[in-house]
């Protein structure tokens, strides 16, 4: 590989930027709400400015060139956050919620960002995952890991079932189908006595490894850890895996095909893209992501109820994806994190939360409809470290 002749300075820079990013993440989680929100605003303004100056492009290519170093540094920094937050209960909770929401948003992004099919039902898919988890652990008394697998299977089936009508529809009709699904899901859950009706199911088991529950207060070396400590580590790892999958899909041939469908379905079909298969795939993988998020959510709160998976919640996910930047996994995760921090830090004003979301959504749509970190041109030459095509002047 050509890594040897890369200057060491560049690697150091990569590590430093990683530390800076995760430092900012930590500060946003840790500080009181006034300072934290000011920081969020500063980050949003900074990202907009960097985007205009082309600095984000430079950053992306720097990270791609040193991707091994960047990945290692990011991994270590990511694991440092649970350690730094280990004794802070509420802050760890925000971090866990942010990672769960980021997973769901990555799932939504497959449909909304890549394929340009607006899915108004991510909360319903999340709900399917959460309820599968609840039924398997609570009603059937099995292990939470089986619940996780059940959630993924159920969501895959639901994704395929919902994906089928999408093969024949698009645009507004498709949004109406998903919207109908979302509204019907909430009604259905409220009216099935087995699933607890409006009261939901409580007592969902937390994930455990070899008898050690991941969600429990432990005291290690005399330090009383927050109950979220291990759960946060697990969620971060899960998010890292899902993020890696999303990244690989978006640079793969399949990701390209999804983008082609978004641009022009007929043209894509003429070019040999199997439109039906790709659309079904995007629904399948997206709903599995949502289901994993839902199962983790259920096992965190140990309670699932119909009010957690409403149409409004779906709008929040859509808002996150648009804020972060459609069709860019990095942007989606950033958007999910920022919006979760805003919501959780504004807990005292929860009456106004929906209003803030809606105004924010209008603001982004007017000011920067592509989001904070929009999608990039895929640079395969840099990605594979070799020159596949001679550089052309048209670029």
């Amino acid at each position: 590989m050509t890594n040897n002749d890369m200057p060491t300075a560049e690697k150091c820079l990569t590590v430093a930027i990683n530390v800076l990013i995760f430092g900012l993440v930590f500060l946003m989680l840790r500080l009181s709400y006034q300072i934290s929100l000011a920081l969020v605003a500063a980050v949003i303004a900074g990202l907009l400015r960097m985007e205009r100056k082309g600095m984000i492009d430079a950053l992306f290519s720097l990270f791609i060139r040193n991707r091994n170093v960047a990945a290692c540094a990011a991994f270590i920094c990511m694991l440092a956050i649970p350690l730094l937050l280990s004794t802070f209960r509420y802050q760890s909770h925000i971090a866990v919620m942010a990672s769960i929401y980021a997973m769901v948003c990555l799932g939504v992004n497959f449909q909304m960002g890549s394929t340009n099919m607006v899915n108004f039902a991510p909360a319903a898919f999340m709900g399917i995952g959460a309820y599968s988890m609840a039924v398997v652990t609570m009603k059937l008394g099995m292990s939470a890991w089986l619940g996780m697998i059940a959630a993924m299977l159920m969501c895959a089936v639901a994704g395929l079932v919902i994906g089928l009508p999408t093969l024949r529809t698009k645009g507004y009709y498709l949004s109406l189908v998903t919207m109908a699904l979302q509204l019907a899901f909430t009604q259905l859950i409220k009216n099935i006595p087995y699933l607890g009706g409006p009261n939901g199911i409580s007592g969902v088991k937390a994930l455990s490894v070899g008898g050690f529950s991941l969600y429990k207060t432990y005291t290690i070396f005399g330090v009383k850890l927050a109950p979220h400590f291990f759960y946060l580590i697990f969620c971060s790892l899960a998010l890292a895996v899902l993020f890696y999958i999303a990244l690989r899909i978006s640079v793969s041939r399949c990701g390209l095909a999804l983008n082609a469908i978004a641009q022009d379905e007929i043209a894509a079909n003429c070019l040999g893209v199997d439109v039906s298969r790709c659309k079904l795939f995007s629904f399948l993988i997206g709903s599995i992501f949502c289901g994993i998020g839902g199962a983790l959510y259920a096992s965190l709160t140990s309670f699932v109820g119909p009010n957690d998976f409403t149409f409004t919640r779906s709008l929040v996910f859509i808002c996150m994806v648009i804020l972060g930047g459609m069709d860019n996994p990095v942007g989606v995760v950033v958007g999910a994190f920022l919006l979760t921090v805003i919501t959780e830090k504004l807990r005292g004003f929860s009456d106004y939360a929906q209003l803030i979301y809606a105004l924010l959504l209008v603001f982004i749509l007017v000011a920067k409809p592509t989001g904070l970190i929009p999608k990039r041109v895929r640079n395969y030459c840099e990605l594979f470290g070799r020159s596949l095509v001679p550089p052309t002047s048209e670029e």
Partner: protein, 320 residues
């Protein structure tokens, strides 16, 4: 048999309210080619505006001075003015700025607009406490009533407590609105231009139609339609909640799609079909009330998949 006619009547009434919202959707879609998802919220806003105006008029003692029917007409006009203004605002703030961008943008911005309307209602509307407590019995039954609880809609259409007269009035109002709309669309120059824009925007611009003016007028008229549908819904349901808008809007849009978008009569047929399905499912199937909305949505999905152009819509062939 008595049950059948009872259900038939309720279905007809519900269908009337759906029809007007569906017409709003169809009109907006016709002139702008966008689906305005906040129609339901605008309608709910109209009914809340009428509720607020009712409380204000009552405290001002206007009902003692003017005849009852004049007051009701005044209330409807107030609601219509509010909704027309809101329709115009929706157009200016969340549709016009996204005129040339992808169809995703107006979709999301109108949904956001709907959420803004809904939340403002939930935050600002301070109801007359005794209106709700009277319904659930006793003045102390609900002492704390925030804007987020369901609100009692004043029984404006049944001053002497007769349900039959209310039902007939609801159907009459809908019929009159449909007749007026029909006359407007087919007998006036403005209505004809509206139809022309719906068929071909570029060509109608070339023939000298002031498209932007007609669009504004469409949004004003659509707002009035939505206000009246909100009024009828309130009179029919008696209780209104600030967050009914999403469900109501989805029903209205479904009705418009089932009937055929862009088509006024399609909206009528779609609205009636949806209402009949809903009411008869809850009437004849045991425990069906809970599932009536779900069955209605299943009908919609089936229609979208197998007959996306609607019952009487024209089939559109996609050209490259």
């Amino acid at each position: 048999m008595e049950m059948f006619w009872g259900l038939f009547m309720s279905a007809l009434l519900l269908g009337c309210t759906y029809t007007l919202v569906a017409i709003g959707f169809s009109m907006f879609f016709g002139v702008m080619d966008v689906v305005v998802f906040c129609c339901g919220d605008i309608a709910i806003f109209g009914s809340f505006a009428i509720m607020g105006a009712y409380a204000a008029m009552q405290s001002a003692g206007l009902f003692a001075v003017l005849p009852f029917w004049v007051c009701v007409a005044l209330l409807i006009i107030i609601g219509a003015v509010f909704c027309a203004a809101l329709g115009l605002m929706t157009h200016l703030l969340s549709i016009k700025p996204f005129h040339n961008s992808s169809e995703l943008m107006p979709l999301l911005s109108t949904i956001a607009m709907g959420t803004v309307i809904k939340e403002i209602l939930g935050l600002l509307f301070k109801p007359a406490v005794n209106a709700v407590s009277k319904m659930v019995g006793g003045p102390d039954a609900m002492t704390v009533v925030s804007g987020r609880n369901p609100q009692a809609f004043p029984a404006l259409l049944m001053p002497n407590g007769s349900v039959l007269s209310r039902n007939i009035t609801i159907i009459l109002i809908t019929a009159v609105m449909l007749l007026l709309l029909f006359l407007f669309l087919n007998r006036t120059k403005m209505g004809m231009s509206m139809q022309a824009i719906s068929q071909n925007k570029e060509l109608s611009r070339m023939t000298g139609i002031n498209v932007s003016k007609i669009v504004v007028i469409t949004f004003l008229i659509g707002g009035v339609m939505l206000a009246i549908s909100g009024f009828l819904l309130g009179s029919y349901q008696k209780l209104m909640s600030f967050d009914d808008g999403a469900m109501y809007g989805a029903k209205g849009f479904s009705a418009a799609v089932v009937g055929g978008l862009r088509n006024t009569w399609g909206a009528v047929i779609g609205g009636m079909l949806l209402a009949f399905v809903e009411v008869f499912v809850s009437g004849y199937i045991p425990r069906g009330t809970a599932y009536s909305s779900i069955v209605a949505f299943v009908v919609v999905v089936v229609f979208i998949v197998f007959r996306p152009e609607g019952i009487i819509g024209e089939k559109s062939v996609e050209k490259v």
